[in-house]
C-alpha cells in the first residue's frame, strides 16, 4: 500500500496569542498531527501576503495564519489589518484556482490550546484528500 500522503503545513502564529495558545496545547499535552511547522511572528499584522505565496511556492500543502482575536491584539490593532490583507490574498488564491482548503486563518488566544489543536487536526484532515499542492510549488 502506498504511504498515506502527509501534508506539509506552515503556520504563521503571532507571538502573543496564537503562539502562546499553541504552547499551551503543548503544556497541556494535547496531541495533534505533526504536519505543522510553526513560524512565530510578532503580530499577525506583520504577515505579508508574500510570506503566504512564498510558502506555497516552496511547496507547502497548506498555510495557516493565526492571530489574536479582534480586540485582543497585543499591538492594539495589528490583527485588524491582517484580517483585511489576508481576506484579499485568500480571495485571490481562490480565484486563481487554488483549493480553498489550503489556506486558512484563525483567531487563537493564549488560552485556546484546544482550539489550536482542533484547527490543526481539521486542517490536516481536509488536506489529506487533496494530495500534494503542486499548483504554486516551485518547479525549477
Amino acid at each position: 500500500m502506498a504511504e498515506e500522503f502527509e501534508p506539509k503545513i506552515v503556520a504563521f502564529l503571532c507571538k502573543w496569542c496564537s503562539s502562546a495558545g499553541s504552547d499551551l496545547a503543548g503544556v497541556s499535552r494535547m496531541e495533534y498531527p505533526y504536519n505543522v511547522v510553526p513560524i512565530t511572528v510578532m503580530c499577525s499584522g506583520s504577515i505579508s501576503p508574500l510570506y503566504i505565496l512564498s510558502a506555497f511556492s516552496r511547496g507547502a500543502d497548506g498555510v495557516l495564519v493565526s492571530g489574536c482575536h479582534p480586540g485582543d491584539c497585543h499591538y492594539i490593532k495589528g490583527n485588524f489589518y491582517a484580517r483585511r490583507r489576508i481576506a484579499l490574498i485568500n480571495k485571490l488564491l481562490d480565484f486563481i484556482g487554488l483549493e480553498p482548503q489550503r489556506f486558512q486563518m484563525s483567531w487563537v488566544s493564549a488560552a485556546e490550546g484546544t482550539k489550536y489543536t482542533e484547527i490543526i487536526k481539521d486542517f490536516v484532515k481536509e488536506l489529506k484528500p487533496l494530495g500534494p499542492q503542486t499548483k504554486l510549488g516551485r518547479d525549477l
Binding site: 506539509k8 502562546a20 505533526y34 499591538y75 489543536t117
Partner: protein
C-alpha cells in the same frame, strides 16, 4: 557565513522521550553555517549553560541556537548565557521543540523530523540576525494617575510618598469615586467615608500631588519614560481661591437637577458642591444645567456672591504635563438601567440599584440614614434583593461575574435589618461567591444573625401592584414558585467599565478586553501592567473588584510605576522597524498603520522613532516596496525560515 552553534536540550525525557535528540544534533551539524552541534540533558542547568559558553569559546561561535522549551521560558536565560560568553544576546535564538513538538506528538520519527525543521528554521533566522543593543531612553520622573477613586487615590499617595511627583486627574468636581458614596463597607462594616476622607485630604494637602479635578485627558503622546499629556481643565466658573464656601449661591440658583452623588434620589442646583467632604472643597457651576452664561440669562449666583468668586468668563484650560509613567484607574459604572427594563428599574420608584441603596443607608444620604421608600417615604418592611442583575448572563447582558455583588448584597441585607429590625430581607441568588478574608463569615452572619432569607433562583417578573412591588420567582432548591409582595427591590446590577473609558483607552493605546475593561499585559504574571509600556492599571477599570483588591492593585501599579521612575534611563527592545530609504517612496501607508505613532514622514521618506516602536511589523507587511522591516525578523529571515520549515 556565520559560525553557529546548535544546542539541543533533552529536558530530561520531556524532549528526549519523543525526539531523537542525537539525530537532531547530527542533522544540524551538516547544516550550512553550523560549526558545532551537541545535545545535553538540561541545557538550562548550570552545567548546560557552561557547555554553551565553552563551545562558544572553543569554536569561535558567533551565534547560537538552543533547541529546547518555549522562548517565553528560557530565551532570556540563554541570551544571558551567550552574553556572558561575549556574544551579543541577539545572536541567540530558541527553537521550541518541546511545547511545539515533543509534548504534542508521539511518533518519534516524525517528531524528530519536525524538531529538525524547527531547529533549522531557527538557524536560518540566527544566521541573519543583527547584533543589537537595547535602546536607552531618559526618564521623566513624574507620574500621571487618571481617576480619583480609591484606586487612583491610593496609587497617587503611594507614588507621592515615595517621593515622586504625581498629577492626579479626575473628571468629576471631586475625588472620592464610588467609594465615597458607600455607607459601610464589607466585611467590617466600617464607615466608608470615615476611612476614605482622610486619604482624600492627604491627597489635597500632599506637596507632591498636583490635583486636577473636573479635568479630562485630551491627548497623549510619547512613550514609556517620556509621555506628554494634554489635560483639559473644564471651567468650574467658580474661583476656588475666592470662594468662602458660604453656600449663598446654591440658595438662589433656580435650577434643580438630579444629584449624581445621590444617584438621582435627591436634587442639586446648577451651582453646587458635590458633597460636603468634597476635595477640593469648592463649588462648581454645571454649565449644562445653568440657564446660560452667554448671554447671561440668570446671574443670580454671581449677584449674591460677595467675594465675587463666580467668574462667567472662565475658559477651558489645557494643561500640558510630562510624565514617565501613567496609572489608569478609571473605575466603573453600574450597568445602565435602561438595559434592565425587565426589573422595572427606572420605571418603579421603589426599585433601586445597589448604589442608591447605599445612599439610603448612608447617614449623609437623602434620608440621613433612614431606610425609606423613595415613593412614599415609608419604611419598607419587606425588601427583595436580587443578585446577578446583568451579570453572568451571556445571552442578554454581561457574561462575567461582577464579583462584589454577593458581598454587598449580604451587607445590604444586614444594614437593612439593622435599620429596620422588623423587616425581612429576601435575596435571590444564583450562587454565593464569598471568597476573601472574612467574607464567608460575613455572609453567614447575614443569614444567621440578621435573618436574611436566601432564595436560590431567578426572578421571573417584577411589577407594581397596589403600592407593592410584586416579585415572582422560583426557588430552584425547593422547586416552588415564589411570590413576594415587596416594599422595595434592590438590584445588584453589573459593574461596567466607566463611561468614556473606551475613548480614553484609545488615546492611551491600551487594549480593551471583550467586555470593555482595560486589558492587562498578562492575566497572571503581569496583572497590573497594560500592553503599552509605562502604563499601568488599577482598580475596577481593569475588572470588577472590591475595595481591598482595588487598593492592592493600586499599590502594585504604583510600585510598577516606581520601578520605571526610579531609573535614570530605560532600555527598550532594539528589535524595531528600520527603513531602507533607497526603497521608500514616502507613500505614508506605514505611518497610517503604526499603532504607536512611531512612524512619520520626513523629507518624503518614512522615519522610525525607535523608542516608540514596539516591533510589531505591521508596517513591514503593509509596505508595498519592502522598504521597512523589523530588525531580526526581516522578510528575508521569514522567507528562509519558510524554506527550512518545509525541509528545503
Amino acid at each position: 557565513m556565520k559560525r553557529t552553534g546548535v544546542f539541543i536540550c533533552h529536558c530530561g525525557i520531556n524532549i528526549a522521550g519523543t525526539v531523537d535528540v542525537k539525530k537532531v544534533a547530527k542533522e544540524l551539524s551538516n547544516h550550512t553555517g553550523v560549526v558545532h552541534s551537541e545535545e545535553y540533558i538540561y541545557m538550562c542547568s548550570d552545567p548546560g549553560q557552561n557547555l554553551i559558553i565553552e563551545a562558544i569559546k572553543e569554536n569561535q561561535l558567533d551565534s547560537v541556537v538552543v533547541a529546547c522549551c518555549s522562548p517565553t521560558l528560557h530565551e532570556t536565560t540563554f541570551r544571558n548565557t551567550v552574553k556572558s560568553a561575549g556574544i551579543n544576546p541577539f545572536q541567540c535564538e530558541i527553537a521550541n521543540i518541546r511545547e511545539q513538538c515533543s509534548w504534542v506528538h508521539k511518533d518519534m520519527e516524525k517528531a524528530t523530523e519536525k524538531a529538525i525543521k524547527l531547529t533549522k528554521s531557527a538557524v536560518e533566522r540566527v544566521h541573519r540576525n543583527e547584533s543589537l543593543d537595547p535602546i536607552s531612553i531618559p526618564v521623566t520622573r513624574r507620574a500621571l494617575v487618571v481617576g480619583g477613586g480609591i484606586a487612583g487615590i491610593q496609587s497617587a499617595l503611594d507614588l507621592a510618598n515615595s517621593g515622586y511627583e504625581v498629577i492626579l486627574v479626575e473628571r468629576s468636581p471631586s475625588i472620592g469615586g464610588h467609594m465615597i458614596q458607600l455607607s459601610e463597607t464589607f466585611p467590617t462594616l466600617d464607615c466608608s467615608q470615615c476611612i476614605l476622607t482622610p486619604k482624600m485630604v492627604e491627597v489635597s494637602k500632599h506637596p507632591k500631588i498636583k490635583l486636577l479635578t473636573y479635568s479630562e485627558i485630551q491627548d497623549i503622546s510619547g512613550y514609556v519614560g517620556n509621555f506628554k499629556v494634554k489635560i483639559l481643565k473644564k471651567p468650574t466658573y467658580v474661583d476656588p481661591d475666592k470662594c468662602t464656601l458660604c453656600d449663598e449661591c446654591t440658595k438662589v440658583c433656580p435650577v434643580v437637577v438630579p444629584n449624581e452623588f445621590d444617584l438621582g434620589l435627591t436634587g442639586r442646583r446648577a451651582v453646587y458642591m458635590p458633597f460636603p467632604q468634597a476635595i477640593p472643597a469648592t463649588y462648581t457651576l454645571d454649565i449644562k444645567s445653568c440657564p446660560g452664561l452667554l448671554p447671561i440669562a440668570c446671574g443670580k449666583c454671581a449677584d449674591v456672591c460677595e467675594p465675587e468668586a463666580i467668574d462667567y468668563d472662565m475658559k477651558p484650560e489645557i494643561v500640558e504635563e510630562e510624565v514617565g509613567a501613567i496609572i489608569v484607574a478609571t473605575g466603573f459604572d453600574l450597568y445602565d438601567k435602561e438595559l434592565m427594563a425587565e426589573y422595572g428599574h427606572g420605571k418603579y420608584a421603589d426599585v433601586l440599584d445597589g448604589l442608591q441603596f447605599e445612599r439610603l443607608c448612608s447617614a449623609s444620604g437623602p434620608t440621613t440614614g433612614k431606610i425609606l421608600r423613595p415613593s412614599d417615604h415609608k419604611e419598607p418592611k419587606e425588601v427583595v434583593f436580587i443578585q446577578c442583575v446583568g451579570s453572568r448572563d451571556p445571552e442578554l447582558h454581561c457574561a462575567y461575574c461582577s464579583k462584589i455583588c454577593c458581598m454587598y448584597t449580604a451587607k445590604h441585607a444586614m444594614l437593612y435589618k439593622h435599620h429596620v429590625p422588623d423587616g425581612q430581607a429576601y435575596i435571590f441568588y444564583i450562587d454565593i461567591r464569598s471568597g476573601g478574608k472574612g467574607y464567608e463569615e460575613f455572609v453567614q452572619r447575614a443569614v444567621e444573625e440578621d435573618g436574611a432569607l436566601y432564595l436560590r433562583g431567578k426572578v421571573s417578573k417584577i411589577f407594581e401592584d397596589k403600592g407593592k412591588i410584586k416579585v415572582w420567582g422560583v426557588d430552584t432548591l425547593s422547586g416552588k414558585d415564589i411570590e413576594i409582595d415587596a416594599d422595595m427591590v434592590v438590584l445588584a446590577t453589573a459593574m461596567r467599565p466607566s463611561e468614556g473609558a473606551e475613548e480614553l483607552a484609545k488615546k492611551l493605546k491600551i487594549a480593551l478586553d471583550k467586555d470593555g475593561f482595560l486589558s492587562e499585559a498578562h492575566p497572571k504574571l503581569r496583572p497590573v501592567e497594560s500592553v503599552t509600556p509605562g502604563m499601568f492599571l488599577a482598580g475596577a477599570a481593569q475588572a470588577p473588584k472590591d475595595i481591598p483588591e482595588a487598593v492592592a492593585q493600586a499599590s502594585g501599579a504604583a510600585a510598577k510605576a516606581i520601578a520605571i521612575l526610579s531609573q535614570e534611563r530605560l532600555f527598550h527592545a532594539p528589535t524595531v522597524a528600520k527603513v531602507n530609504v533607497n526603497l521608500c517612496t514616502g507613500c505614508g501607508m506605514c505611518v497610517h498603520v503604526c499603532p504607536y505613532d512611531s512612524l512619520s514622514l520626513k523629507d518624503g521618506k518614512a522615519e522610525v522613532n525607535e523608542v516608540l516602536c514596539e516591533g510589531c511589523g505591521t508596517c513591514s507587511a503593509t509596505c508595498l516596496r519592502a522598504a521597512i522591516e523589523v530588525k531580526n525578523l526581516t522578510p528575508l529571515q521569514v522567507n528562509e525560515m519558510i524554506g527550512a520549515s518545509l525541509g528545503g
